[in-house]
C-alpha cells in the first residue's frame, strides 16, 4: 500500500470514528427526549388504537380498578360510520373549521400586512395585538359568554341598547341554535343540514378573536423574509399594489400559509372548549362526541375509535393542503 494511500486511509478512519462519536453524542442527548416522547405520545397512541378495537369500560373488581376490554374488531368504527349523528357531527365540525379558517386567513394576512408597514407605535400595537392569545381558552369562552348573554345585562345587548340599536326591552339571543337563512327556500335546508346556526357563527367570532394574533404573527414572520428588492423591482416595472400582493407576497407566503393551514385545521377540527362551555351538547362537534362517548358514557373503545377517525380526517385534509399548495410551489 502506498504511503499516501495509507495516510489517506488513516485520516478517513479517524474521520469516520469522529463522526460515529458525534452521532453517539447526539443520540445520547436525544435519548431522554425520545423516551419522554415514547411515554407521553406513542404509548398512549398505541394503547388508544388497541382500545378502539375493543369494548372497553372501567370496572372495579375485588377492590382493584381496571379496564375490562373485549375485542370487537372494527365494530366501534362501523358504529360511527353508519350513524347519521356522527356524519352530522362531521358536517358541523367541517363548517366550524372552514368558516373559521376563511376568516382567520383573510383577516390574519390583512392584519399582518398592516403590522408589516412602518408606522408610529408599531411595537406597541404588535404587543397589544398579541394579548388575546395569552387569554386561556376557558377564560375566553366565559368572557364571550358574558358578552353574548341574551338578557339586558349581557355586554353586547347592553351596548346595542345604549346605542339605541335595540329598544329598551329588546334583546338578541346571539347563541340561538337556529339555522341561518332558515326561511330561504333550499338555502335554509342546506344550512340546517350543515349545522350552520346563528349560535355557531357567533362562537366562530369569539374563537377567531383569540387565535387571530397567532395567524397574523406567523404570517408577519413570513412577510419579513420577502426581500424588499422584489417589491422595488415590481414598482419600477409598474406593478400596482394588488399585483405586488398577488404576484410576490402570496406566492412567497405559501410555505408559511401551508403551515398555518395545517396547524389551524388540526386545532379547529378538534375544537372543544368554547363550544362545550357556552353550548354544552347543543353543537355536537367531533371532540364533544369523543368526550361524551369516553367520559360521559364510559365507552372508552368508542371514544378511542372516534378520536382516530378525527385523526384520519385531519391527515386527509393535511394531505390535500400539501398536494394542492406546497408541491405546486416546489
Amino acid at each position: 500500500m502506498p504511503e499516501s494511500l495509507g495516510r489517506h486511509g488513516k485520516a478517513k478512519s479517524l474521520q469516520n470514528r469522529r463522526r460515529w462519536s458525534e452521532r453517539r453524542f447526539a443520540l445520547a442527548l436525544m435519548t431522554p427526549a425520545l423516551i419522554v416522547t415514547l411515554f407521553v405520545v406513542f404509548v398512549p397512541l398505541f394503547y388508544a388504537l388497541y382500545l378502539s378495537f375493543h369494548k372497553a369500560e372501567i370496572v372495579v373488581v375485588g377492590g382493584r380498578g381496571g379496564l375490562l376490554a373485549q375485542f370487537v374488531g372494527f365494530k366501534n368504527y362501523l358504529y360511527f360510520l353508519k350513524d347519521s349523528r356522527f356524519w352530522y357531527s362531521v358536517r358541523v365540525t367541517s363548517y366550524f373549521t372552514v368558516v373559521s379558517l376563511l376568516i382567520e386567513m383573510v383577516a390574519g394576512v390583512g392584519v399582518a400586512l398592516v403590522l408589516n408597514q412602518e408606522f408610529f407605535g408599531r411595537g406597541i400595537v404588535r404587543t397589544v395585538f398579541i394579548l388575546p392569545w395569552a387569554v386561556p381558552t376557558v377564560v375566553n369562552a366565559r368572557m364571550w359568554g358574558l358578552i353574548f348573554e341574551p338578557h339586558a345585562y349581557g355586554a353586547l345587548n347592553g351596548l346595542l341598547q345604549a346605542l339605541h340599536i335595540l329598544g329598551p326591552t329588546e334583546t338578541i339571543n346571539f347563541l340561538a341554535p337556529i339555522p341561518i337563512f332558515r326561511n330561504v327556500p333550499l338555502v335554509g335546508k342546506v344550512t340546517s343540514w350543515l349545522g350552520a346556526t346563528q349560535g355557531i357563527n357567533w362562537l366562530i367570532v369569539g374563537d377567531t378573536w383569540k387565535v387571530l394574533p397567532v395567524v397574523a404573527l406567523l404570517t408577519l414572520a413570513g412577510l419579513q423574509t420577502i426581500p424588499r428588492e422584489l417589491y422595488e423591482a415590481a414598482e419600477v416595472d409598474g406593478a400596482n399594489a394588488w399585483q405586488r400582493f398577488w404576484l410576490i407576497t402570496l406566492p412567497r407566503l405559501r410555505p408559511v400559509l401551508v403551515v398555518i393551514l395545517v396547524y389551524r385545521t388540526m386545532e379547529l377540527f378538534r375544537v372543544f372548549d368554547i363550544i362545550y362551555i357556552l353550548m354544552a351538547y347543543t353543537i355536537p362537534v367531533l371532540a364533544i362526541e369523543t368526550f361524551r362517548q369516553a367520559f360521559v358514557y364510559g365507552l372508552f373503545g368508542k371514544g378511542a375509535a372516534i378520536a382516530f377517525l378525527i385523526g384520519m380526517f385531519i391527515l386527509l385534509i393535511a394531505f390535500i393542503y400539501i398536494r394542492a399548495i406546497y408541491v405546486e410551489e416546489e
Binding site: I58, V59, V60, R64, Y281, F295
Partner: protein, 432 residues
C-alpha cells in the same frame, strides 16, 4: 443506517418493556371478601366534591376541621370541581388500582351505573334502622339499586317554584298559581300587560337540567317518563302532555327563548335580575334571590309549590336531584371514609347549616330551628315529598342524552312533541 438501526432497536426495546409493564387488559374476576381493618394512624382521606351548588367549599372545609378536631388521626383533603366534571373524575379514579378519591359525591343518577360497575361499596351494614327511619324513603330510595344502598344522603336537592310577587300583583294576581292551568293564565296575563317580555325562564339547553325539567313537568301532570320496570313511556300520558306544554310555552312566547341556551345558574340570573316572573329551579336559587349582592328582587322573591295540573291528586310535582356521599370500592381507607360520612351527614352537623341547605333528616326538617331559619320550609317539605326520580338504569347517561336531544329539537320546532317522544322511545329501546 447504523444510527437508524440502533434507534429502531432502542424504540422496540422500550416498547417491549413498556408493554410488559402495561396493566392487564382484563381485570381478574377474583372477589376479595370485605375485611374490617382498624383505622390506621394519621390517615388522609381524599374527598371529591363540587364547587357549584349545595354546601360551599368554605362550609365543607369548616366541617373537615371540626371532624379533624374530633378525630385527630384522620384528615380530609378536598378536591372541588364543577358538577360537570364530577362524573369524569370519579370514573378515572375508579380506573386506578388504588382510588384517587376515597369519598365521592354521588349524584342519584349515577347510582345504578356505579353500583353495576362496582365503583362504590354498599353501605347497608353500616346504616342503622334508627337512621333509616329518620330519612324519607323518597331520599334513601334514590341511592338504592338492586336492594342495596350505595350512598348516604347528603344533599336534599330538588326543584322548587320561585316567583316574583310584585310582578304578579301588577298583573292583578294576589298569589302564586295553585294549578298548572292557573300558572299558564298568569303567564298569559303578565305578557299581555307587558309587565315582562317573557314571564318564565328555565334551563333548557342540552344538558342534564333539560332532562330534569322534562321529568318535573311530567310530574306536574302526575306521571313519569318510565314505567316501574324502567321502560320508556314518554310517548303517552304525562310524558306527552308535558312536552306539549313546554312547546306551547315556547310557541306562545311565554317561556324565554334564551332558555334553550341557558343552564340553571343562567336561568336564576335572569330571574333575580327581574327579567322573568317565574323560575322552576333547584334549592340554591333561594339563597341567591334573597342576597342583595346578586339579586334585584330581594323583597319580591318568593318560594312556592310547583303547581300540578288540574285533576292530579298530588299537591305538587317536583324532580329529585339528591346527592349522597359514597365510598370508592378501590379505596384503601374505607373505615376512615365511613367515619367522615357519618360525621358530615349527621343531623348535628346538618343542623348547623340550615341557612344554606335543607336537611335530609326528617327530625331536623321538622325542628323549630329549621322553621325559624327557613320560613319556606313547609313549601320545601311538600315539594320534596312529591319528587319524581329520573330512571335508575346503568346506561342512564345515554338515556338522558336521547331525552335532552329530542326535547331540545322539539322546543326548537324541529320536531312535533309526538315525533320527539316517539323517537325517544325508539332510540332508548334500541340501546344495547
Amino acid at each position: 443506517m447504523r444510527k437508524l438501526t440502533f434507534l429502531n432497536l432502542l424504540t422496540v426495546l422500550v416498547l417491549v418493556v413498556l408493554t410488559a409493564c402495561q396493566p392487564a387488559s382484563t381485570v381478574a374476576p377474583t372477589k376479595v371478601p370485605p375485611t374490617k381493618k382498624p383505622v390506621p394512624k394519621a390517615v388522609t382521606l381524599n374527598a371529591l366534591y363540587m364547587n357549584q351548588a349545595g354546601y360551599s367549599d368554605k362550609v365543607l372545609l369548616d366541617m373537615a376541621n371540626k371532624f379533624h378536631e374530633a378525630n385527630p388521626n384522620v384528615k380530609v383533603n378536598f378536591t372541588f370541581v364543577k358538577y360537570d366534571e364530577l362524573h369524569d373524575k370519579i370514573v378515572t379514579s375508579a380506573a386506578a388500582s388504588t382510588a384517587t378519591y376515597d369519598v365521592i359525591l354521588l349524584d342519584l343518577i349515577w347510582t345504578a351505573e356505579f353500583a353495576h360497575k362496582g365503583y362504590v361499596i354498599p353501605l347497608d351494614d353500616k346504616i342503622t334502622k334508627k337512621t333509616r327511619d329518620d330519612i324519607a324513603p323518597a331520599i334513601f330510595g334514590a341511592f338504592i339499586y338492586k336492594g342495596k344502598t350505595w350512598a348516604f344522603p347528603f344533599l336534599a336537592n330538588f326543584q322548587c317554584f320561585f316567583y316574583n310577587i310584585d310582578q304578579l300583583k301588577q298583573a292583578g294576581f294576589n298569589g302564586p298559581p295553585a294549578t298548572l292551568e292557573e300558572w299558564y293564565d298568569q303567564m298569559v296575563a303578565l305578557k299581555k300587560k307587558g309587565i315582562v317580555t317573557y314571564p318564565y325562564i328555565d334551563s333548557w339547553n342540552q344538558k342534564e337540567g333539560l332532562t330534569c325539567d322534562y321529568v318535573r313537568t311530567a310530574a306536574q301532570f302526575g306521571g313519569d317518563l318510565f314505567d316501574k320496570d324502567g321502560n320508556p313511556i314518554m310517548d303517552q300520558g304525562a310524558g306527552l302532555k308535558a312536552l306539549k306544554f313546554m312547546r306551547k310555552l315556547v310557541d306562545e312566547g311565554l317561556a324565554d327563548p334564551a332558555s334553550m341556551t341557558t343552564d340553571e345558574p343562567g336561568a336564576m340570573n335572569a330571574f333575580v335580575s327581574g327579567a322573568a316572573t317565574f323560575n322552576t329551579n333547584w334549592t340554591f336559587v333561594r339563597g341567591n334571590m334573597l342576597n342583595p349582592k346578586v339579586s334585584k328582587i330581594v323583597k319580591s322573591a318568593r318560594t312556592g309549590l310547583i303547581p300540578p295540573a288540574k285533576g292530579v291528586s298530588a299537591p305538587a310535582g317536583s324532580v329529585s336531584g339528591f346527592q349522597g356521599l359514597a365510598i370508592m370500592a378501590n379505596s384503601k381507607k374505607q373505615d376512615a371514609a365511613w367515619k367522615w360520612i357519618e360525621f358530615a351527614t349527621s343531623p348535628e352537623v346538618q343542623g348547623q347549616h340550615l341557612k344554606s341547605e335543607f336537611p335530609v333528616w326528617t327530625s331536623v326538617q321538622n325542628s323549630a330551628e329549621e322553621k325559624r331559619i327557613n320560613p319556606d320550609a313547609g313549601f320545601y317539605a311538600t315539594n320534596l315529598a312529591n319528587v319524581h326520580h329520573r330512571p335508575k338504569v346503568p346506561n342512564y347517561p345515554q338515556v338522558s342524552t336521547i331525552i335532552m336531544e329530542d326535547v331540545h329539537r322539539c322546543l326548537l320546532g324541529e320536531m312535533s312533541p309526538e315525533q320527539a317522544t316517539k323517537d325517544m322511545v325508539t332510540r332508548i329501546k334500541a340501546l344495547d
